[in-house]
Chain length 432, copies 2
C-alpha cells in the first residue's frame, strides 16, 4: 500500500522555531517611528508581551521552544500530518506532478492561528499577566486567542468589529464558550468606544477602531497584554513550526517540494510553511520556489508598493517596510475575510523584494476559489476554509501548468483552516 | 515532558476487524421473520451489500480489512489519537483517577460514522453497484455516506426527514457539496413519498418514512444498495477499528483502562470502542467495565425490555433481539439527536443481558450534558458533539465517584464527533 498520510511521531515535534532574519540577503529594514505623534515603539513596549518583542528583534537563527509550549502544541494536536493528494492528482490526471498538503485545519479552533496564540499566552502568563486583549475581524484570531487563554487559565478580552460580531453567531458562541469576554466594537469598555457610541448608538465599527479599543484597554489595565495574530516577526517565528514539521515529513515521504503554496493576507500561515524552506534555499541547502495566493480584493504583494507604512488603520503601530496598498485602503468584502489586509508581513515582503516569493491574485468574486474547494472536498474529503481554498486553487493551477509543459514538479499546499463554520459562504458561492 | 497525546504510526493501523460473536457467553439470538408480511430477510438480501450481509452472520473472530479500505481509513485520517486528559483531571482535582479520550471527532464529516460508510462504499463498488442509498435523521450518517460515496466515485441518494432537512442548512450544504442527491422526505422520488405528499404537500416526514423511501428507491434501481449506519453487526464490526487502535495506544501509554465510556443511541460508536476490549474480557485476557451514556429521552438499555423488535418504525427489518422501548415509541427531541433511537444493537444488548455493559441515562433537558461539554472545551480545548458530551458527562461523574471512594481508576471516553455544526445548540442550552 502506497501511503498518503505522513505523520510525525509526537516525540519528533521540533524543539526550536526557525528565524529567517539572519539568513536574509540584506538586513531586514527595521521598524521606524512616524514623524508625528507619540512613540509607537514605547507604546508597544508597554502593551505587548516582552518576550515576543525580544523575539521580534532577534537575529538568532534558532529560538528554543520552551518545553511547556511544546506540550501545549501537542495538546493542540501537533504534529499535524502531511498528505499526498493522490485522489486530487488522479482527478486532475497528473502524471508528472505530485501534490501534497499540510493539515493546519486540524487545529482546535479551526485555523493555524493557535500556533502563535499558545506561545503568546504562555509568555504572558510567565510575565505575570492575567489578561490577553485583542481585536478580531473575521473571528479566527479571536477564537484562537480565546482558546489559548482558556487552556492557560487566563482571561481573554476580544474587541470584535460590530458589523461582523452581529452576524457570526457561531464564532461568537465559540469564543464565549471558551470563556472570553467578547465586545462588539465600538463598545462601552473604552473611552474611544463610548465617544463613538455617543455619536451613533449603532456604530458598525472597523478593524482600526477595534485595535484602538484593545490597545486602550491593555494600556489601562496593567495586568493585560495586547496580542497580535499576524504580520509581526515573532508571529511568523511561532508559525515556523508548520514548515519545520513539513520538512521532516517530506524526509519521511522521501520526496522534496519544488514549490510551496499558501494563501496570504498578512502572511502568518504563508510564512509558517514557507520560511523554514526559504531559509534552506538562502543557505543553498535546497531549491524551492514559493507562491502566495491572494485575492484581488487585497493584492498587497501583487500590486502593492514596497515602502514604509502603518500596520493598522488607526496608526498605532510603528512604520514597517512592507508591500502595501496603503493602510487606509478600502477593500471589498470577500468570504476569505482573513486575506483582507492591506500589507504583507515585513519578512514576506523582504523575500518578495528579493524575488524569492512570488504572488498571484484571484478575482474577488471567488467563484474559482470555491470551485477549487469543492474539488478538494470531493477528492480528498476535507472541508477547508475559504482562505485555504486560495492555496488549493493556486496549487491546482500550477500543477496543470507544469503538467501541460511536461515538467516534473512537487507542489505542497498549506491548508490553513477548516470550513465547518463557513458552510453558509459555500452555499452562497456555489448556489446550492 | 509527560506526553498527553498517544498516536499510532500509520503503518500500525489494524489489519483486521474484531468480531465479538464467537466470544459471547451464549450464541447471539438470530434475526427472525415477523409473523405477518413479506420476508424481511429476502428484502434485505435484495437491497443491501452482500459482503456486509455475509459479515453480519460471520462467526470468525477476525475479519481481514481489505488493503483498499485500510488506505481509505488512512485517507480519512486514521489512526486517530488517544489523549490523556491531564487538564481535565487537574480541573476535577483527580489524584487517583486517570482520564483518557479517543478522538473520533477528527473524522472528515465530524463523526465516527465514516468508519462503516467507507467499508460499505468499498464493498458496494466491488459488487458493481453505482449508487448508495440511505435515510438520515440528525444528518451525521447522511454526511458520512455522502463522503464515502464521493471518495469512491459513487452516487449517493439521501432521504432526509423534512422536519430536519428544513433547518439543518449547513449539514445539507455539506452533503450537497459532497455531490449527494439529498431529498426532503417524503419526496416525489418514490411512490410512498408521492402518496404522502398528495395528502399533505408540506408533510414533515419521519425516520420511518425516510427508511421506506430509501428502501423503495434501492429496490427499484438495481444499481443501488441500501446502507445502514448503526445497530447491525457488520456496522459494529467496521467500527471495531476504534477500539483496536485504542488497545494499541494504551500499550504505548503503558496504561490500561478499568472503564470504557461511550454514548449510546443505536450503539455504533459505543460498540466500536467497547467490543475489542469486551472480547478480551470475555477471553479473560483483561479486566474492564463498560458504561453506556444515554438520554432519558431514549433510555433503551436502562428502561427497555430485552425482546424481539423491529429495527425501524416502518417494520422493514427482520425482528432483532434487543433492549427496546418499542419501535413505535415517541421520543422527545433532544440536541443529541443521534442518541434518539428506540433500541440498542443486538450485540450491545447481549452484553447488557450478560451484565458486561452497564448504562446510565441523563435528563432530557441536557443541562448537565452541555455543562460537561463546556468544561471539556475549556480544559482540553476540543469542541465536541452533543452526543459525545454524554460520554464526557458520564466519564466525569464516574471519575468523581471513584476519587471520592479513594479508588484508583483509569477511565477512557470515546469522543464520537465534533461540535462545529452544533454551536446553535450550545448557545441555546448554555444561554449565551
Amino acid at each position: 500500500m502506497e501511503k498518503n498520510q505522513f505523520s510525525l511521531p509526537v516525540d519528533e515535534l521540533p524543539t526550536k522555531w526557525f528565524n529567517i532574519i539572519p539568513h536574509l540577503p540584506e538586513p531586514l529594514p527595521p521598524p521606524k517611528e512616524p514623524e508625528n505623534g507619540p512613540s509607537r515603539m514605547d507604546f508597544l513596549g508597554k502593551t505587548m508581551v516582552h518576550e515576543c518583542l525580544k523575539q521580534e528583534m532577534s537575529t538568532d537563527p534558532w529560538i528554543p521552544i520552551p518545553e511547556e509550549i511544546r506540550e501545549l502544541y501537542i495538546q493542540a494536536g501537533r504534529p499535524r500530518p502531511l498528505y499526498r493528494a493522490k485522489r486530487l492528482e488522479k482527478y486532475l490526471k497528473l502524471k508528472k506532478v505530485r501534490l501534497y498538503y499540510k493539515r493546519e485545519d486540524l487545529s482546535p479552533t479551526g485555523s493555524h492561528k493557535v500556533n502563535t496564540a499558545l506561545a503568546q499566552a504562555y509568555y504572558a502568563a510567565k510575565e505575570g499577566k492575567t489578561t490577553l486583549v485583542t481585536e478580531t475581524g473575521a473571528g479566527q484570531w479571536g477564537s484562537a486567542l480565546s482558546y489559548a487563554a482558556s487552556i492557560m487559565g487566563l482571561k481573554c478580552v476580544v474587541f470584535w468589529v460590530r458589523a461582523v460580531y452581529d452576524w457570526k453567531n457561531e464564532r461568537r458562541t465559540l469564543m464565549k464558550l471558551l470563556g472570553a469576554e467578547v465586545h462588539a466594537s465600538p463598545s462601552k469598555e473604552t473611552s474611544i468606544g463610548r465617544t463613538l457610541l455617543a455619536q451613533n448608538a449603532n456604530h458598525q465599527g472597523s478593524l482600526g477602531i477595534a485595535v484602538s479599543e484593545g490597545l486602550e484597554y491593555a494600556e489601562k489595565h496593567s495586568d493585560s497584554v495586547y496580542c497580535l495574530g499576524s504580520v509581526l516577526n515573532h508571529v511568523l517565528l511561532h508559525q515556523s513550526i508548520i514548515g519545520l514539521e513539513t520538512i521532516k515529513q517530506f524526509e519521511i515521504a522521501d520526496d522534496s517540494p519544488d514549490l510551496i503554496v499558501g494563501c496570504l493576507g498578512g502572511g502568518s500561515n504563508f510564512g509558517g510553511i514557507a520560511l523554514p524552506f526559504a531559509g534552506e534555499v538562502l543557505q543553498k541547502k535546497r531549491e524551492c520556489k514559493f507562491l502566495a495566493a491572494q485575492s484581488q480584493a487585497a493584492p498587497n504583494l501583487v500590486k502593492g508598493e514596497y515602502r514604509y507604512d502603518f500596520g493598522d488603520v488607526a496608526e498605532h503601530t510603528p512604520l514597517l517596510k512592507m508591500y502595501t496598498l496603503g493602510h487606509k485602503t478600502d477593500m471589498v468584502p470577500i468570504k476569505a475575510d482573513g486575506l483582507r489586509y492591506h500589507a504583507a508581513a515585513p519578512l514576506i515582503s523582504a523575500l518578495r523584494h528579493h524575488n524569492i516569493v512570488k504572488a498571484v491574485a484571484y478575482p474577488a468574486d471567488e467563484k474559482a476559489i470555491f470551485e477549487a474547494a469543492k474539488i478538494f472536498l470531493q477528492t480528498e474529503g476535507w472541508l477547508i476554509a475559504p482562505e485555504s481554498s486560495y492555496a488549493v486553487r493556486a496549487g491546482i493551477d500550477e500543477a496543470l501548468k507544469a503538467e501541460k509543459a511536461g515538467q516534473e514538479k512537487v507542489i505542497c499546499m498549506n491548508i490553513s483552516g477548516h470550513g465547518f463554520l463557513d458552510l453558509v459562504a459555500y452555499k452562497e458561492k456555489l448556489e446550492f
